[in-house]
């Protein structure tokens, strides 16, 4: 199964649309399972990141019998220092983002903690690519 969602930078009213849709799809496919909550929490934080920091973004989801693969690709300022961005508590979020209940520098580590595979690459001035993989069957 393949899904695509667009995210608009700065538009908090739509942050969570992709994760909400993914939750409905996963509940139908695999029912109530820890993996559903972990995956939608990771995607939701990723959506909030795009809304908070980028100009626009795309969520691409692939689900097969083994895994859920999520690509979140944005056009935006990019991340200068990924290691620093991954540190809990480090944030460049605006006051507006903090007023929404985010921007405390926990998003990226929360995404990592809720995914089986996590990859973050970024080019300053171009954008950021996040790949999250969740395995449906764990050994």
């Amino acid at each position: 199964m393949y899904f695509e969602f667009d995210i608009e930078g700065g538009d908090f009213s739509k942050a969570g649309l992709a994760s909400s849709q993914l939750k409905k799809i996963l509940k139908q496919l695999i029912g109530d399972h820890k993996i559903v909550k972990r995956t939608v929490v990771a995607l939701y934080e990723a959506e909030v990141n795009v809304v908070a920091h980028a100009y626009s973004g795309k969520v691409i989801i692939n689900i097969d019998t083994e895994k859920i693969t999520i690509n979140v690709i944005d056009k935006g300022p990019g991340i200068h220092d990924i290691n620093l961005a991954m540190q809990e508590g480090y944030s460049t979020a605006s006051e507006k983002v903090r007023e929404m209940g985010f921007g405390a520098g926990m998003g990226l580590s929360n995404i990592k903690n809720n995914s089986d595979e996590f990859s973050l690459t970024s080019e300053v001035g171009v954008g950021t690519k996040l790949v999250i993989i969740a395995y449906l069957k764990k050994e």
Binding site: F12, S13, A15, G16, S19, S20, K23, K37, V40, V41, Y44, E45, V48, M100, G101, F102, A104, M106, G107, N110, N113
Partner: protein, 114 residues
């Protein structure tokens, strides 16, 4: 503890989810920081917050939180109600502070997450 009893204890006002008031809640968490809420690995929580926006509903939806109390007399908007109905989340307004609301519920037997 049933949600209807929670409403009585905190003298809250149910804004939506009137058909879900018989549901049981055992644990609670209080925060204005949604990223903190999203780190929790506990289902069926009640969230007590002083932050009233649609992201609190989205956070509850992703975290399997079935009831949100808006303390400090924060008002729930139409957008929040629509999202909550879609996700089957009970929204309650409460005029007490987050501290008092949490204290009342703790006294009534709602357990902390940690």
């Amino acid at each position: 503890m049933k949600i209807k009893d929670i409403v009585r204890v905190i003298e809250g006002k149910v804004i939506c989810g009137h058909d879900l008031l018989e549901s049981e809640i055992h644990k609670g968490f209080a925060s204005d920081l949604m990223s903190d809420v999203l780190t929790l690995d506990t289902d069926g929580l009640i969230l007590i917050t002083g932050l009233a926006n649609t992201q609190t509903i989205r956070t509850a939806e992703m975290s399997d939180i079935s009831c949100i109390v808006y303390a400090r007399d924060k008002k729930i908007s139409e957008d929040m109600i629509n999202l909550a109905i879609e996700s089957k989340i009970v929204l309650i307004e409460c005029s007490s502070s987050v501290f008092k609301t949490s204290g009342l519920l703790y006294n009534a037997g709602i357990k902390p997450v940690f």
